[in-house]
């Protein structure tokens, strides 16, 4: 394929910022919500970077800017040195970009057309990337090869998504993404909705594909443990900013940002007890017996945990 050969990284995001205008009933008008603020990172060819954060951290918006589903308010996304972020792509450009970057979505139920057979879906994707018309024997063979690649049988090709389990659907979504033979796969919480035993299978599948083909992965997740198994590097986001980034093992062994520590501590594990970080109205945080519902005392409290970007986080 057309290599740019300039030594530019596969993906380079610099100072990405996204501001959404949201309706606010209380303010009687629109106000701005900063979803992503000054996010920069690089991903080399064949690399695997996890973008980890809680809900509202801006990780999904970042992924959507990378693939071009959202335009950044400012900052740039460069893929193989080419700026993708500041022009509305034509259909042909989208197709060309699609052959470099593909995405797998979180919800395996709505990310496939429910009226299209699995084979129809794969052949359509193949046809868009120059593999010949759907229905031809060659396209059929390639669709079956994709099914095989993701661990499905040719017989699955005749089924509609409704007849598949969540894990099988996610495999189809991965196969559809692979149809374009991309160099980067963006996974937006792609295993979060799957059963535990299936999650492991899909994580293994992704690791295998990466090992076999050199496909780079951008793995957006709230699950640090899953990120650790799939990615060498991790970027932790909090309140739209980068809290820290580095090699996964280093970050997990010695987290520098408070939010990384919180994420690690909040993972259920043997011997773990959930703790409240937020106070309550009555100061009796200890399990003292207080059968009454608690009086109207209290007063203002620690800010609520989601939303509201936290100042004082350092950009890289």
């Amino acid at each position: 394929m057309a290599e740019t050969g300039t030594g530019a990284p596969l993906l380079e995001a610099s100072e990405l910022r996204k501001v959404f205008r949201v309706r606010n009933r209380a303010a009687r008008g629109r106000e701005e919500a900063v979803a992503v603020d000054g996010v920069s990172f690089r991903l080399e060819r064949g690399g695997a970077l996890a973008v980890v954060g809680g809900s509202g951290s801006g990780k999904t918006t970042t992924a959507r800017m990378v693939v071009g589903l959202e335009a950044p308010t400012s900052g740039t996304v460069r893929v193989e040195g080419e700026d993708w972020s500041h022009r509305r792509p034509t259909a042909r450009e989208r197709r060309r970009r699609g052959s470099v970057v593909q995405m797998v979505f979180q919800d395996p139920y709505s990310s496939l057309d429910r009226r299209q057979s699995v084979r129809g879906c794969l052949e359509e994707a193949l046809a868009l990337h120059g593999a010949g018309r759907s229905g031809r024997p060659a396209a059929r063979r390639r669709a079956d090869a994709l099914l095989d690649r993701v661990g499905l049988a040719p017989a699955h090709g005749g089924l509609r998504p409704g007849a598949l389990s969540g894990g099988q659907r996610q495999r189809v979504a991965i196969a559809r993404a692979l149809a374009a033979d991309p160099r980067l796969l963006v996974l937006d919480e792609a295993v979060a909705a799957l059963d535990v035993s299936i999650q492991a299978q899909v994580l293994n599948l992704l690791a295998d594909i990466r090992a076999d083909t050199g496909l780079a992965l951008l793995f957006v997740t709230h699950d640090l443990a899953a990120a650790r198994h799939l990615c060498d590097r991790v970027l932790v986001m909090d309140g739209g900013r980068v809290a820290e980034q580095g090699p996964t093992d280093d970050v997990l062994a010695a987290p520098r940002a408070a939010c990384t520590r919180r994420l690690i501590e909040s993972l259920p594990r043997p011997g773990w007890t959930p703790r409240r970080s937020i106070g309550r109205a009555d100061p009796s945080a200890a399990p003292s017996t207080d059968p009454s519902a608690g009086g109207p005392g209290g007063g203002p409290h620690v800010p609520h945990p989601t939303g509201i970007p936290d100042p004082g986080r350092t950009a890289p």
């Binding site: 009933r25 809680g54 809900s55 509202g56 969540g166 894990g167 059963d195 535990v196 035993s197 299936i198 999650q199 492991a200 299978q201 994580l203 293994n204 690791a207 709230h222 699950d223 640090l224 443990a225 899953a226 650790r228 198994h229 997990l252 919180r262 994420l263 690690i264 501590e265 909040s266 993972l267 259920p268 594990r269 043997p270 773990w272 007890t273 959930p274 703790r275 409240r276 970080s277 937020i278 106070g279 309550r280 109205a281 009555d282 399990p287 207080d290 059968p291 519902a293 608690g294 009086g295 109207p296 209290g298 203002p300 409290h301 620690v302 800010p303 609520h304 945990p305 989601t306 939303g307």
Partner: protein
Amino acid sequence: MSGPREPALLRVEDLHVEAPGRPLVRGVGLDVAPGEAFGLVGESGSGKSLTARAVLRLLPRALRTRGRILFDGADVGAFTPAGLRRYRSGGVGMVFQDPRAHINPVRSVGDFLTEGLRTVGGASRRRAESEAVGLLEEVGVDAAPRRMRQWPHELSGGLLQRVMIASVLAARPRLILADEPTTALDATTQEEVMAILGDLRRERGAALLFITHDLDLAAAVCDRVGVMYAGRVVEELPARELERRPLHPYTAGLLRARPRIRGPRGRLEAVPGRPLPAYEAPDGCAFRDRCPRAAEVCAAAPPLRPLGAGRVACHFADEGAPGTDFGEDVGEDAGGGAPGEIGEEDRRG
């Protein structure tokens, strides 16, 4: 009915749920003691949520149920409409997975919280409101009086789940039924919500039936854990035992399949195949197609039998935790368990 030592607050006996021609739950039995936290863990299709709904008699009419559900000794299936209302409003409180779907979007948070207090509790408007504010503060919602005037869509999922918990607590239930209450939340919010639920439950002495797909979470917040597969309970253990010495190969497989934050990185030991609903599962042991230890004997359904401190439905279970690295002799604990909680199920065997 050999009376259990401690009378169960909730007892499910040989529960079957069936869609026309499709068994979904096949003979679930479990006991939840007063004040106890019981975790019911399973993957999709295991029947865990149907079991929870059956406890509340919330199943769709198209599903047929058999078996008995006893709440404080009374047969839930025989409740009159008035009795059922009392049971649902005061006996059992349900926390759902998706609070957004279960809180009326066109009523304010305050309306949602005070409705129950006023209609069931008969409180005056002002008293109900001050009580609701108190509840919100107890579940860690800041600026509670302002929240009362807000709409559900203005709150984040984590906050809304707390509102849901507050509304459940308002009725002072003796059993809290939580169906995947944190699945839609991120890990930090999940910890928060589970901590709040745990604290308040203990303070008020309410029992908890916690439905989840997350073994680690269930083991961390519950006293006992039952693992369901294909419509059956395949294993039941005290929570602290479960993580160290799971008895059933399925439980062991789930624990190993889970990515960890420490330890070796490499490939995950996935459980092959996919979780099957009861109507698709093979005869005999429903797990045998996916089981590393499956043998000919597995063509016969293994009974759920007492072993150590718990119960297990596996032919191989007494040879140490099958196929695990956790393998220690589990026999040493035999007889030390809670015999009262066993009786029903193994008679059916």
